[in-house]
Amino acid sequence: MLSSMLLGRYIPGNSIVHKLDPRAKLISVLLFMIIVFFANHWVGYGLLILFVLSVTKLAGLSIRFLFNGLKLIFILLIFTFLMHLFLTKGGTVLIDGGFFTIESEGLITGIYITIRLVLLVIITTLMTLTTSPIELTDAIEKLCKPLKSIKVPVHEIAMMMSISLRFIPTLMDETEKIIKAQSARGSTFMTGSLIKRINALVPIFIPLFMSAFKRAEEMAVAMEVRGYQGDAGRTHYRVLSWKNRDTIALIVLLLFGALLLFVRQ
C-alpha cells in the first residue's frame, strides 16, 4: 500500500512538464489554487477537469496511475463529500430519511467541493512527481529571496531543507538496521496492543536520534573545513534558467483563469 503511495514522490522523466523551471511550476500550482475557486457551475468544473487531464497527459503520466497512487487521499475526500451531502441544506428535498434529509443543494455542493479538492491534490502531486526535491528547494530559495530584506534566513532554511532531503535515505537505512538489531535481541514491533506497539518504538527512536545528532555534528565540522560560512560571498553551482516555455506556461494558465471567470455565472 505504502509503496504505491505517490504523495511527495519524484519520478524522473523527460516530458515538457519535467523540463519546466521549478519556479514556474511552483508559481503555477499557487495560481491554480486560486483559479480553482473561479469555477462555480458545471461548465467551469468541466474545464478544470479537462485542464488537469491535459497537464497529466503532458507530464507523460496516466490518470489511472495517479488514482492508484492517491487512493488513500481520495478515501479521506469521500468523508468531505458525505459531510456536505448531509449537512448543507437548500433546494429540493431528495431523500427524507426521517432524522436526516438529503437536499439537492447539499448534493451539488458536495460534488463540486470534492472535485475541487481532487483536482488540487492531483495538480500538487503532478508538481512533486515531475520536480526533484532539490529543484524544488532551489525554487523556494529563489522565490523567497525578497524575504531576506526582512531578516528571514532564506538561504539557511533552503540549506537545511536540502541536507534533510539528502539524509532521508541514509536515516531510512539506519532505521532498518536498528529494527533488525532490536529484533535480534527479541523485540517485537508488530504484535500486541496499540500502546505496547508504541512503546516498542522507543528502542528504535532513541538510537536513531543519537546517531542523527552524531551525524549532524560530523557534518557541521565537514562543512566548516570546506569553507562554509553561510550565505555571504557564496556562489551557486546549480542554476535555474527561466526559458520562454516557462513564460508561455504561465500565460496559458492565466488565460485559462480568465476563461473560467468568463464562463462564471
Binding site: 539528502r166 560530523e218 565540522v221 573545513v225 570546506r226 569553507g227 562554509y228 557564496r234 556562489t235 553551482y237
Partner: protein, 262 residues
C-alpha cells in the same frame, strides 16, 4: 611546509595530554602517514592543524606563517580533508553538487566551478556518476567523491583522517589506489592518518604515535626495525612482516618482495 613546534593539548577534565609536546615537519610533495591506535592522539593532531581545536600550546607554521585566529581562514584553504564516515561529509544532493560545495563557498564563478568539478571527478574516475545521488553509491565511491571535493579546492595538502577505516576491503583498495596515483602523477602532498599498518606501504615518511607522543619517525624500513615498539603501540604488524621475521631477516618488505625472496 607545515611545521609543528612543541604542540600540547589536553581535553577538558582530562589529566593526561592528548598530545604531549610534539614537533613534526611535513614536507611538500611527500606522503606522510601518521599511524597509531585509537586514542593515540592522531585525530586530535588533525583537528589542531585544521583549526577546529584552538586552545593548544605551541606554534604551528604553515608556509612560514603562524596559524592563529586571524590567519586561520586563509591558511585553512591550503588544506583539504577527507573524514572517516563517507555519509556524514556528503553535503550535496548529487555527486557533482557535493564536489562543487567547497567551490561555492570560495565564491568562484560557475564556469570555473564546472571546470574544476569535472577535472576533480575525472581524477578519481567518478565522472560517469556525476548525476548520482549519494545513496546510490558504495562507500568507496562516496570516499572517492569526498577526495574529488577536496582536490577541487586545489589544496597544498590533502589530509585523510581514517578515510578508509569504514570501508570494505574493495572500497579500501579503490581509495588507496586513487591516492597512490595522485601522489605519483601530480605530486600531491598527502597526510594519511590510519591505525592499519597494511595501508602505509606507499608513504615516504611514517610517524608512529602512542599516548599523545611520537614514538617513531622515519621511512617504512626504519619504523619496522623496531617491531616491539609497534606492538607496544598496540598496532597490528602485517602478516608479510611476521613471515619475514620468522623466515628471513625480519626487514621491511612488500608482499611482492616477500614472494620473490621466498
Amino acid at each position: 611546509m607545515i611545521t609543528l613546534n612543541n604542540i600540547a593539548f589536553k581535553y577538558r577534565d582530562d589529566e593526561v595530554y592528548a598530545l604531549d609536546h610534539i614537533s613534526i615537519r611535513f614536507n611538500s610533495g611527500e606522503w606522510t602517514s601518521i599511524i597509531g591506535h585509537n586514542g593515540s592522539g592522531k585525530s586530535t593532531l588533525v583537528k589542531i592543524i585544521m583549526g577546529i581545536i584552538e586552545e593548544y600550546e605551541g606554534d604551528i607554521y604553515v608556509d612560514g606563517e603562524l596559524l592563529n585566529i586571524e590567519s586561520k581562514q586563509t591558511l585553512r584553504r591550503k588544506f583539504a580533508i577527507v573524514f572517516q564516515n563517507p555519509d556524514n561529509q556528503f553535503v550535496g544532493a548529487t555527486v557533482e553538487d557535493d564536489v562543487a560545495f567547497g567551490l561555492e563557498n570560495l565564491g568562484l564563478d560557475r564556469a570555473e566551478m564546472v571546470k574544476r568539478t569535472e577535472h576533480a571527478l575525472g581524477l578519481v574516475n567518478m565522472l560517469d556518476f556525476r548525476k548520482h545521488e549519494p545513496h546510490r553509491l558504495s562507500g568507496g565511491q562516496k570516499q572517492r567523491v569526498a577526495i574529488a571535493g577536496a582536490l577541487a579546492m586545489k589544496p597544498e595538502v590533502l589530509i585523510l583522517d581514517e578515510a578508509t577505516s569504514m570501508l570494505d576491503p574493495s572500497g579500501r583498495k579503490e581509495v588507496l589506489s586513487i591516492l597512490s596515483e595522485l601522489h605519483e602523477r601530480l605530486d600531491t602532498t598527502i597526510l594519511f592518518i590510519t591505525h592499519d599498518l597494511t595501508e602505509i606501504a606507499e608513504s615516504d615518511k611514517v610517524i608512529v604515535m602512542n599516548n599523545g607522543q611520537i614514538v617513531a619517525e622515519g621511512s617504512l624500513e626504519e619504523v619496522y626495525k623496531d617491531k616491539n615498539l609497534l606492538l607496544e603501540s598496540n598496532l597490528k604488524v602485517p602478516y608479510t612482516m611476521e613471515i619475514s621475521d620468522a623466515l628471513l631477516d625480519g626487514s621491511y618488505m612488500t608482499h611482492e618482495e616477500l614472494v620473490r625472496r621466498l
